[in-house]
């Protein structure tokens, strides 16, 4: 893989330019930057070894571990065996969470399935909107993961490692490719909350840049309060006053730079300018007033409701502005009990938003350049927990992909007849990461950085395979 040979040169050139360019920066130009004045963020990879099928990723993280058995993996046999013991041959000596050492009984799927799309694929009837765009979706029913508790499983899904301190995938991608966004971060995270279920905590490490420089960390956009931390001016300070202070800071910094020849100063001047621009661009981004009634209707959301659907709409707006990696968390999928009602709530909350995002991007001609991934951190047991729920499970889960270069209407892989373990075309989290990088034009096993002596990769040291069968 070729590294951007002009990476450092660019930095120097840029700094050289800004040192002069900003020499003339005055309040006026800070307040009204000329179009195209700000530069996009460059990545460390130069020419890509693979064709770049998609420019960006929207990753829908269903936090808590959605049950594949009530979403995308129909198991009539499990219904037949409801209440009977699970075959011991399947479960013996296996990693279980709360069910460890307990009596293991089959638990029937709690909602009916229905057929959708040209291929008449069966998915849970709770998801008719997703069903309506199933021809654009590639279902993977054979996903597996290594971890079985929420926190390590999230870490594994986000960083390819269960040990804290590794960069998350959004950081890897922006580190490699940079971002086309001029006044927004390249990696943005949004979270939404559902009702019911258990709101499992999510640590900020899930979008941390780990050992990469912190400019690659995910920036969380919040629904309430400051959308970006510390974004708003102090009370009693207008935008014009703020601009005046920033201009003065930069002016003094430039005078200092003339004496000490430190390239960090030019960078700092540029970062103050960027921060000041973000103070305008982020509120503009978050403001859905300009969206048409049809669009709001499509998503089924109201501006400012903080819903998953609203975040889907924001994801589209971020994609339009060139943001490279957009990650949406929707919480509450942890159904140890009350699964039947819980999953119905979840379906209501996400079904329409997912459909709307796909439809909206498609209408705007952006779906082909976007990769959408829907995934939890693990699946759930076919065995009952407490008679109304399912425990964590890492041997089987369903995920789906949509967008550029992915074969819509396809089902890839399968679990056994009870949905306990993936048995056909088994795939791993590392494979999923490798596939995502592949679509972005990155060769996953050559995209490395030295960390603690190792060529660390997002796709892990154990080896990973691009899931070629699902690609168009």
């Amino acid at each position: 893989m070729q590294l951007n040979s002009s990476f450092l040169h660019n930095r120097r050139t840029f700094l050289g330019k800004t040192a002069q360019g900003l020499g003339a920066v005055a309040l006026g130009s800070l307040l009204k930057p000329a179009p195209g004045q700000a530069a996009a963020q460059q990545g460390m990879l130069g020419s890509l070894p693979l064709p770049q099928k998609v420019k960006r990723v929207i990753w829908l993280s269903m936090a808590g571990g959605p049950s594949h058995l009530e979403t995308f993996d129909p198991k009539p046999k499990l219904a037949e065996m409801h209440g009977e013991p699970m075959p011991e041959s399947m479960t013996k000596g296996q990693q279980l969470a709360q069910l460890q050492g307990q009596k293991l009984l089959c638990f029937a799927p709690q909602h009916p399935f229905a057929k959708f799309g040209k291929s008449q694929t069966e998915i849970c009837a709770l998801f008719p909107h997703i069903g309506s765009v199933l021809d654009d979706i590639c279902l993977v029913r054979s996903m597996t993961t290594d971890a079985i508790n929420h926190d390590p499983a999230h870490m594994f899904m986000n960083t390819g490692s269960q040990i804290a301190g590794r960069p998350s995938m959004g950081s890897w991608v922006t580190y490699g490719l940079g971002s086309e966004a001029v006044d927004l971060p390249g990696f943005v995270v949004l979270t939404s909350l559902g009702k019911g279920g258990q709101n499992q905590p999510i640590a900020a490490r899930q979008w941390s840049s780990g050992f990469l420089p912190s400019r690659y960390q995910g920036v969380q956009l919040r629904g309430k309060g400051d959308p970006v931390l510390y974004l708003t001016n102090p009370n009693g300070v207008s935008r014009e006053q703020q601009g005046g202070d920033v201009a003065a800071i930069s002016s003094l910094n430039r005078q200092h730079a003339a004496l000490v020849d430190d390239p960090e100063i030019a960078t700092r001047i540029a970062q103050y300018e960027m921060a000041f621009q973000m103070q305008a661009s982020v509120p503009e981004l978050m403001d859905l007033k300009g969206e048409s009634a049809q669009t709001l209707e499509l998503y089924g959301c109201e501006p400012g409701d903080g819903s998953f659907a609203s975040n889907c709409l924001l994801a589209r707006r971020l994609a339009e502005r060139g943001v490279r990696f957009i990650q949406l968390y929707h919480k509450d999928w942890d159904h140890h009990g009350g699964l039947k009602d819980g999953i119905a709530f979840k379906a209501q909350e996400i079904d329409r938003g997912c459909m709307a995002l796909i439809t909206d991007l498609k209408q705007r001609g952006m779906l082909e350049s976007t990769l959408i991934v829907w995934a939890g951190e693990f699946g759930r047991t076919p065995m009952s927990q407490g008679g109304s729920g399912r425990d964590h499970h890492n041997k089987a889960m369903s995920v789906w992909l949509a967008g550029g270069g992915v074969q819509g209407g396809l089902v890839h892989g399968a679990t056994d007849e009870l949905g306990y373990a993936a048995v056909d075309k088994l795939t791993t989290v590392h494979d999923l990461h490798a596939t995502m990088l592949h679509q972005l034009g990155i060769q996953h096993d050559a995209f490395t950085i030295k960390f603690q002596g190792l060529d660390a990769k997002l796709s892990g040291v154990e080896g990973a395979n691009v899931i070629k069968e699902i690609l168009a």
Binding site: M1, N4, F7, L8, R11, L15, T18, A39, Q95, A97, Q98, Q100, I148, N149, H150, G165, G186, T191, N199, Q200, P201, A203, A204, R205, P213, S214, R215, V219, R222, L229, Y230, T232, N233, P234, N235, G236, S238, Q241, Q242, G244, D245, A248, I249, L252, N253, Q255, A257, L259, D261, I265, T267, Q271, Y272, M274, A275, Q279, K331, H336, G453, L454
Partner: protein, 847 residues
């Protein structure tokens, strides 16, 4: 957004990978450790190194005999050597490294290997496993300068001139205290013509209680000190006394060997005391979980590996983590070494899953005496109560039976009757009791039993009032005294140690692995201990034994970074094969030897570094020097770098006059954006700011929430401390600007600084500016700066004169009171000037 790499490792990686730097000439004499090992390690050891399970063609290149046995090369004869042939082969099945490894050697690297074979293909023990040798240096000169100068001379470079006095004192204050000097201190130092003025200043700073705070920063990162458990719910635990112990250890100049013993085995020392036990909290700083469904075996393995990594990072400079699943690919550490090292900690008493215990009381003698007295009262009350308890229980049983009988006829507890109007607390107690009553006695939970008992004893029966009241009062008195007392998790040996097995591929479910006992890494010098099992105390003693070549080097390498910006070996956490052989190995070795010879005297080493001419050089580079040594690895100048996160805060608070100089105590909670913790759960939490002093403590006292570290610290690269962190990145990102401009801490600091400027800084705007510059930067402003800032002042004065509510609003930031009888418009306008000063690059940079 601009490109702003400042992490040296990354830069060098990019440089070498992209082949920017012109390759140096192939040296006359090849040195294995300097020239060859890095190439072999990075490109060959993965398949031909220490890890036998992944070895290809049964060939290993890390041991000369093994390589020769497989005829990898013929010493002295490159043209007959398979290794050399393979380097140049055009056949994709033959060429090494193979194309699918994505590794590629440069022409320079190939030339080095070829010449090495030609010169006989000699090996050396890896540099950091050799005992450090103390170079002899001429008496009188600072050995640091002698050894730096030697390198510079060989490279044809010259050192830079000494910095001016203002720069020197600012540098020393930053590096030794993390606080700015006052203008008076700077003036006194600038005019002190005594030859020992500098030494006196160093002595003064080494005696300051803030020295320990400054030194603690790096150590707290390395040992991953934090106030919370890390995983999942990330709930609090009691460890802050350990932080204070670290500060005190540096202030008291505790010998580093003793510092080590107390942390690893403070409970096992013959003279173990409360203090040494607090030090042993080190072993408890691991991540833990309270997640339901977490498996003990899983977290037992996580904690073991966490501890081994910590020892590796803090003392050994070894990346041990790989050996959790397989023998290390680059260094000789095996999986067995890894788990045997972990077995040293198998004795530690702790619950693997769930809430941490309160920990040991860390209290004064008076407090301990009071605690003992209250315990005594409680015991006496309990004894009296126990005597009557059977009668009380019988009475309760009878009452329960009556209630159940009554319930059948519809009569409930009086507080719950239809027309009753009980107080909320009474109603609640009755509801709990009623709920418990509904259950069969056998099926009641412990809490339900207690609810029912409490209700009966306090609200129903009149029997034995004296005994029950006395007991309740004694319990309450003890509890309310106990709760606010300082406590700390400490190490203690459990009666039964955990069994430690080698986990194949790290899989905790696999019980088939060999059971291992505590043992030291096989490839490092071993003490002779026979006839008994090794303990943590043995491990601790080994870490600071004269025979162990790693810890003194590791610690001195980190110390060097604190004073010069980059380690002598630039990869601070890896002195192994994949790290960097230090360009100036003689210097690192001299420091390591001197450290041990001096009796592990940290202050002595700090003094040696900061009193060197190398340290006192200017940090401003010139074109020639930058070209010759772009990353300042040879120290022909000093380096300028941004303050660490905590010091950015400390500096602003100090200049504003708000800083609370108190040392130690429970962690503080300064302003933090609302709902920043909204993604935390079990339980959900909202950050509550401290008030008063707690808002103005130094950064290192900030509550360290691992999963959501305070965002102002995070923006300036403070690590979450979930893993040991030997080296922080130094980034330059827009969020830093947002913090310094808009975080209430900094707005308030600007306002308080403005109030000082108006009160203390004379009366004309120019004089006030002079005064403000002295406070913030200890220099006079330049004419151009005055012009810019006077314009800021005038513009904002006009804005606030026309908009009084805006002035009021800006003055409301923060809890510090606005001085009475201050001109509000003037103060608000000066707030902007102060803000500009606090935001300057110069204000957050150590030069």
């Amino acid at each position: 957004m601009t490109l702003s790499f400042t992490q040296p490792t990354l830069l060098l990686f990019l440089l070498s990978a992209a082949g920017f730097s012109a390759p140096p000439a192939v040296p006359e004499t090849i040195e294995f450790n300097r020239d060859i090992r890095p190439i072999l390690s990075d490109n060959c050891f993965q398949c031909h190194g220490p890890d036998k399970s992944h070895r290809k063609a049964e060939l290993r290149l890390d041991v000369r005999e093994a390589a020769l046995e497989k005829e990898a090369f013929v010493p002295g004869k490159p043209d007959q050597s398979e290794l050399v042939k393979r380097l140049h082969s055009k056949d994709i099945d033959e060429v090494m490294p193979p194309p699918d490894s994505n590794k590629k050697l440069t022409a320079h690297q190939k030339a080095l290997l070829e010449k090495w074979v030609k010169q006989g293909g000699q090996y050396q023990l890896h540099w950091s496993y050799e005992k450090p040798v103390k170079a002899s240096v001429p008496a009188g000169a600072n050995p640091v300068d002698t050894l730096v100068a030697k390198r510079l001379k060989s490279l044809g470079l010259q050192g830079s001139p000494e910095a001016d006095r203002r720069t020197l004192i600012r540098r020393l204050y930053s590096d030794l205290l993390g606080l700015p000097p006052s203008p008076a201190e700077v003036a006194a130092f600038v005019s002190d013509k005594q030859p020992d003025a500098y030494q006196k200043l160093v002595s003064k700073l080494l005696e300051s209680p803030h020295y320990g705070e400054r030194m603690a920063l790096g150590w707290l990162d390395v040992v991953r000190f934090a106030d919370t458990i890390g995983y999942h719910s990330d709930t609090p635990r009691n460890v802050w006394p350990y932080r204070d112990w670290v500060i005190k250890a540096f202030n008291d100049n505790k010998r580093f060997d003793r510092f080590t013993l107390e942390q690893v085995a403070g409970d096992l020392l013959p003279d173990a005391s409360r203090e040494t036990r607090v030090g042993s909290a080190f072993n408890r700083l691991v991540l833990s979980t309270e997640e339901g469904g977490a498996q003990a075996k899983d977290y037992e393995a996580r904690m073991l590996t966490d501890r081994v990594r910590a020892i590796g990072a803090a003392w050994l400079g070894q990346t041990t983590g790989c050996a959790q699943c397989h023998d290390h690919k680059f260094d000789p550490i095996t999986t067995k070494d890894f788990y045997s090292l972990g077995a040293f900690f198998a004795d530690i008493k702790e619950s693997v899953i769930g809430r941490r215990e309160d920990g040991m009381l860390v209290v004064s003698e008076t407090e301990q005496a009071e605690m003992t007295r209250l315990d005594g009262i409680l015991a006496a009350a309990k004894k009296k109560f126990d005597a009557i308890a059977p009668q009380l229980e019988a009475a309760q049983k009878q009452w329960e039976a009556e209630q159940l009988a009554a319930a059948a006829t519809g009569v409930a507890l009086p507080e719950l009757a239809k027309d009753a109007k009980p107080a909320e607390a009474d109603k609640k107690a009755a509801q709990l009791a009623a709920a418990a009553l509904k259950k069969e006695a056998k099926t009641r939970s412990a809490k339900e039993k207690l609810d029912l008992q409490t209700y009966f004893r306090t609200r129903v029966t009149s029997l034995f009032k004296e005994e029950t009241t006395a007991l309740a009062a004694a319990e309450k008195a003890r509890k309310s005294y106990y709760e606010p007392l300082a406590k700390c998790l400490v190490s203690e040996t459990a009666p039964q140690a955990r069994t430690v097995r080698i986990l194949a591929r790290g899989n905790f479910l696999d019980d088939s692995g060999e059971v291992v006992q505590a043992a030291l890494p096989h490839y490092l010098p071993q003490p002779k201990i026979e006839g008994r099992a090794l303990t943590r105390l043995d491990l601790a003693q080994w870490l600071v034994s004269r025979e162990n070549p790693l810890p003194a080097r590791t610690v001195m390498n980190r110390l060097w970074k604190q004073f010069f910006g980059t380690g002598l070996s630039k990869v601070l956490d890896d002195l192994g094969a994949q790290g960097e052989p230090p360009p100036n190995a003689a210097l690192l070795d001299w420091l390591a030897c001197e450290f041990m010879d001096s009796g592990w005297d940290v202050k002595h080493m700090v003094r040696t570094l900061v009193e060197s001419a190398t340290y006192k050089q200017i940090s401003v580079s010139n074109a020639a020097l930058t070209a010759a040594d772009p990353y300042n690895r040879e120290h022909a100048r000093q380096s300028a770098f941004r303050y660490d996160a905590e010091l950015v805060r400390d500096n602003a608070l100090a200049i504003s006059g708000l800083l609370a100089p108190k040392i130690g105590g429970p962690s503080a909670k300064p302003y933090q954006p609302e709902r920043y913790w909204e993604n935390l759960n079990f339980p959900t939490r909202e950050w509550a700011n401290d008030s008063g002093e707690g808002l103005y403590r130094r950064g290192l006292y900030t509550w360290w929430q691992r999963s959501f570290l305070h965002p102002a610290l995070l923006a300036f690269d403070a690590p979450s401390r979930e893993e040991c962190c030997a080296e922080r990145t130094r980034s330059n990102i827009p969020q830093q600007a947002l913090v310094l401009l808009n975080d209430p801490t900094y707005v308030e600091a600007a306002r308080a600084f403005a109030a000082r400027i108006l009160k203390e800084g004379s009366s004309s705007p120019e004089e006030r500016l002079n005064w403000a510059f002295q406070e913030a930067l200890q220099r006079q402003p330049r004419a151009e700066e005055v012009k810019t800032l006077l314009a800021v002042l005038e513009k904002n004065r006009a804005v606030y004169a026309a908009d009084a509510p805006a002035a009021e609003a800006v003055l409301k930031s923060g809890q510090a009171p606005v001085p009475a009888q201050t001109d509000r418009v003037e103060l608000a306008a000066w707030m902007h000037v102060a803000r500009v000063l606090l935001n300057l690059h110069e204000s957050i940079t150590r030069a």
